[in-house]
Symmetry: C2
Subunit: 490 residues, 2 copies
């Protein structure tokens, strides 16, 4: 896979969206030149970065690249100097955006991509005053930008096709899911759908059919659960499981004509209605501040993404691909003069058990991952497993020395203590970054089991050669103190 | 918590919704009398039950109650005989429902609750022809009924308040989240919101702004991810993090007036439009059949629910409360003449690792849960932990004997091998239901650590008494063969 991660990007605007872009790029190892004029910008963006860092530490066991540098600048020229991509995220006022994008187009290098985060304005309107308008697209992200993968890409009348391709590759390189729209339309796709729900929700609160909390709860406990899995159209398709999609759509026809929605009008935001909304919204928040709500939302998004990753579904698949990219970049198994060293892993939040602890069983899981790495290093691959056999762990002796926490970076060092035709004895040491001594040690005995009989049988061919060579090498290493210990009281 | 789980319910209608109700009740230990007249009912409902059973086995580590009996009946009278609740889920035709509900009201016992699953018809219309209409409510569930927790409860003009209370308690007892609506309105709340999105989505496909797949993907990769966490109103609130909710709502005002939605009209379902929808929907499904799509959806819903449970959020909280109810019902720690026996647990799907295996580390996790149970049995509670101290595992020796799979039921038996003032040696045996020998054994050494100093120190008071008494009792049990073993090659 080609690596198109940019070295530096220029960001214009430092609100919720601009700050979110800063966090996504910086945590993916991209340098950021950020222009934000409102007071408190620096502090607010740094706080967002703290939240985003926390979310990423919980999100993935894959260690992140070294962070990019975040530089606050004072002019458009300083923001766009030497960057591959400029991302504009200033308030939704057409004149303001047109003027800024035109200014960018005069100072940026000609090959610079210029992208607007606008949530509703058409790119053809945005590019009218620009030099080289062919390099402008809309790239509309979602809050929080550092966690939600979608970015809607929309070309204007003057946009060159390669602008879309280059931008898509860059967004993909920082873990996003770019989706290219077919046509220009106000509000693009996602916001038109969101707005439709929101208007209906506002009418319900306005007419006292439901409170803010009730509307939100109805969504969260019902169809909202499905929305990350299945979009609105497939949801209806599956609800009437006719044999053909067409028949199922026909069956829904009559319901469409029912007078259920009030979407023709927008409720007037009178003082009284605003008061009602505000009061109910505050009561729903249960005294949590916006930053607290944001952290709670992020933790839940992380949990949903982790769940979807295990199922290979939607945004979970995007997460898995991003992790693979990071792994492809990082160091692989290191075999120097000492024990084998596995790539460092980060303790993710789905390793917390219900009681909020990282249990000792996760140390064993890390040993298991190290064992898998070692087996693949000596050549136990899919072909060997189905034709010859594989190793199964029959015994484990663990010493638990230090507690582990979410976000900790842990490396496993593995020594072959002994090997014969059927057995393999390993000794793992778990080192947490920054510690002097190990967090845990694990000794394991594995038995080679034949694929044909399902019983223990001799290791064969190249795997045998690689294993015995590694065992001879490791026999010269000092034997760990804890090896061969048993548990005794008194 | 009072236990209001009914013994038997009567279900009328056996489509996607009626079958889903059958699965939810049966798997929660409730007997079901099901009337469904369409051909193939029996086979279809049994297939849904198979899917639902699979989903529940993946969903929770808590063992389920013995399943209720599912009986197919041929008449309304047989369906409602002796039941506490009747749930009507026949097609959405007012006349059909009115007639059926009136018939039910003449043959059901007077105290029977009568609930309609209608997704849009007002209860006041449904109850007009009934005897004792005060016991009718709408209880509108969501597909798949056995996994999605929300049920919208709506009273009609003649409904008695206690009908709502009794029904809510019953739905809660089978793991649902009942939400009582304030007013009667066509389509209630959830479907009005869903319809709003759906109409807008249909327009986009109609106007070739996006394909079915693109509309669904935009939702799944963006705001759909948040929908289980945060409803539509709080989403907007947090997107403009003003200090007051009112100010934030005011800021959104202008966007509401933008001409983004086409919701005034419904697109005509012409032949050409239906063909387009069907073709795109089939291509989106990638040759998966509806049952395959349903299983995929269920697996993802399970993953999302498990993720939200760990965060105590929304439907995840409903899941946790349901599990607690099941645990409260089941046997607690058993201390007879043999080792301590922990309650049986089920292997849930979030114990699968990325490679689709249950790793050996989960055996250690089960040992850890058994150790926690034992500690709480001898009196190590929150007070003891903060004032005196607690036990920490320092060493573990595991023997891995059999593989475990999702849905397996496992019980842990724990023997105290020895105890002194500072140390505690345990031996766990993991038995899978139906097996002769253990799936794994685990020996553990724990050290008592003082809360004040963070160092090892003597166990005290009642905890010491309970522990030593248990140790004396267990000293008379035979010592396990594998106790005290170490790992040796040759």
């Amino acid at each position: 896979m080609s690596e198109r991660r940019p070295r530096t990007v220029g960001l214009l605007g430092a609100g919720v969206i601009g700050g979110g872009w800063a966090a996504r790029f910086v945590l993916n190892g991209v340098d950021v030149q950020l222009l934000g004029r409102s007071p408190g910008t620096t502090e607010r963006v740094r706080q967002m970065l703290v939240n985003a860092r926390r979310a990423y530490q919980r999100l993935t066991p894959v260690p992140l690249p070294a962070e990019g540098a975040l530089t606050f600048v004072d002019s458009v020229a300083d923001a766009v100097r030497g960057v591959e991509l400029v991302q504009e995220s200033v308030p939704e006022r057409l004149g303001l955006k047109q003027q800024l994008l035109a200014a960018v187009s005069r100072v940026a290098a000609p090959e610079t991509l210029i992208c607007s985060s606008t949530s509703g304005l058409r790119p053809s309107l945005l590019q009218v005053e620009m030099d080289q308008p062919e390099r402008l697209i809309v790239a509309h992200p979602f809050n929080p930008v550092y966690l939600v993968p979608l970015v809607e890409l929309c070309a204007g009348q003057s946009t060159a096709p390669e602008t879309l391709l280059r931008a898509a590759e860059i967004y993909r390189s920082v873990g996003m899911h770019p989706l290219v729209l077919r046509k220009e339309v106000d509000g693009f796709i996602a916001n038109r759908l969101q707005e439709a729900v929101w208007r209906e929700a506002l009418w319900m609160v306005h007419d006292d059919l439901a409170t803010v909390q009730e509307v939100d709860d109805v969504v969260r406990y019902s169809f909202g659960l499905r929305r990350a899995i299945m979009g609105p159209i497939q949801t209806y398709r599956i609800a009437i499981p006719e044999t053909s999609a067409r028949r199922s759509m026909e069956r829904w026809g009559p319901a469409l004509k029912l007078p259920w929605t009030k979407l023709i009008e927008v409720p007037e935001l009178t003082d009284a209605f605003l008061d009602k909304l505000a009061e109910q919204s505050d009561s729903q928040a249960e005294n949590l501040t916006i930053p607290e709500l944001e952290r709670k939302r992020d933790d839940c998004l992380v949990a949903v993404l982790q769940g979807l990753r295990a199922q290979g579904c939607g945004a979970g698949e995007t997460l898995a691909r991003w992790e693979q990219r990071l792994l492809d970049r990082g160091p692989q198994l290191i075999n120097g003069t000492g024990p084998l060293r596995m790539p460092t892993r980060q303790i993710p939040s789905d390793w917390l058990d219900g009681s909020g602890q990282i249990t000792e069983s996760r140390s064993l899981q890390l040993c298991g991952i190290a064992t898998d790495n070692l087996l693949s290093y000596i050549g136990v691959d899919g072909g060997y497993r189905s034709n010859v056999g594989s190793y199964y762990t029959v015994e484990t002796h663990l010493s638990h020395l230090r507690d582990l926490y979410v976000g900790d970076q842990v490396q496993v060092l593995t020594q072959v203590l002994g090997a014969d035709d059927r057995r393999l004895q390993l000794f793992h040491v778990l080192m947490r970054k920054g510690d002097e001594g190990p967090a845990a040690t694990g000794e394991q005995m594995l038995v080679h089991v034949e694929a044909s009989s399902g019983r223990s049988g001799p290791v064969q061919g190249k795997v045998r050669e690689h294993l015995l060579k590694l065992a001879r090498l490791h026999a010269e290493l000092p034997r760990p103190d804890r090896a061969g210990a048993s548990i005794r009281l008194g």
